[in-house]
């Protein structure tokens, strides 16, 4: 029954829960729809501050059971009043509880230094608005793949893995880190690799 258990837990493919942050009503509605179509659970908030509150990172700890709210991905606009997307990204990466959650930045402006700044700070990807369904689907696949790889290693330890674990049991899992999901050969235009054709 061990095999059965394993297959049911990995094939049930739990829904990703995405936290979407954007101060624009229109954009929140669109990103929510894109994510729902991609079979994700979505929570939208209108500011970086609200995002931190939702995550329980605003200093007001213990108000919610964080396990129930487990967020698998954060998608945030860059330009927002108050806390910018970049500042939100930094706060998340500074937090031991949430730094492993992939954060994707969205912006309507194709500004190279801005993109670099975000990627350096640990953003998973940088999407140019308007965000397309293809972008969201690709993102989801990326996140699911690294999540499955993580689960696979935990549930199906291969001999190699066991040996590795023995050697450095304290090292963080490498497969789910952002480096594996950069996909250097992936030429998706609207990601951090930038749109080659600007719609103007």
């Amino acid at each position: 029954m061990a095999v059965g258990d394993l297959s049911s837990s990995s094939s049930s493919s739990p829904e990703l829960h995405v936290l979407a942050v954007d101060d624009s009503f229109v954009d929140r509605k669109v990103i929510e729809r894109l994510l729902r179509i991609s079979a994700c659970k979505v929570t939208t908030v209108e500011s970086g501050t609200r995002a931190l509150q939702y995550l329980g990172l605003d200093g007001d700890k213990g108000s919610c059971d964080l396990k129930d709210l487990k967020v698998n991905l954060i998608v945030t606009d860059y330009s927002m009043p108050g806390l910018t997307g970049y500042e939100l990204l930094k706060k998340i990466k500074e937090s031991s509880a949430f730094r492993e959650i992939p954060v994707v930045i969205m912006s309507s402006e194709n500004i190279q230094p801005r993109i670099e700044q975000c990627m350096t700070e640990g953003a998973e990807d940088f999407l140019l608005k308007p965000v397309k369904l293809a972008d969201v689907k690709r993102l989801k696949e990326l996140i699911m793949r690294s999540g499955e790889a993580e689960e696979g290693r935990i549930k199906n330890p291969s001999p190699n893995t066991i040996i590795q674990d023995d050697i450095d049991s304290s090292s963080p899992s490498s497969s789910s880190s952002s480096s594996s999901s950069y996909h250097d050969d992936d030429d998706t235009p609207s990601s951090k690799r930038m749109k080659s054709s600007v719609h103007d």
Binding site: S24, V26, V30, S79, K129, P130
Partner: protein, 140 residues
Amino acid sequence: MQRQVALIKQSLFDQGYLDDQFMELEELQDDANPNFVEEVATLYFKDSARLINNIDQALERGSFDFSRLDSYMHQFKGSSTSIGASKVKTECTTFREYCRVGNAEGCLRTFQQLKKEHATWQDRRGLGRQHVGPSKERDK
């Protein structure tokens, strides 16, 4: 009837009133979510009415706080991009350029043009949809 709607839509597209983005939004609509485009458009119009009002007031007061005006326009440009109102978006870009160089006259002129494009988009949206008819839109 379908054909007529398709022809009108094509014409709007050709004239640059609708761009790829609007088509993308339509593709997100389905039987389970049949009003998605309408809902987004409604949000857009509420939002743009607010922004237009703010900018109108700021300009009427004669206060050319370019950084504030630019901030309003950034929002306006953002939502116009998301909804696929490309001519409105173009005017927003132009307006921001005038803000950047502190050209009040240019801002005023562009804003008039922007309001025109926005009103046209609003009207045409009524025509382009399989709907009760344009008069319903005008009542809004």
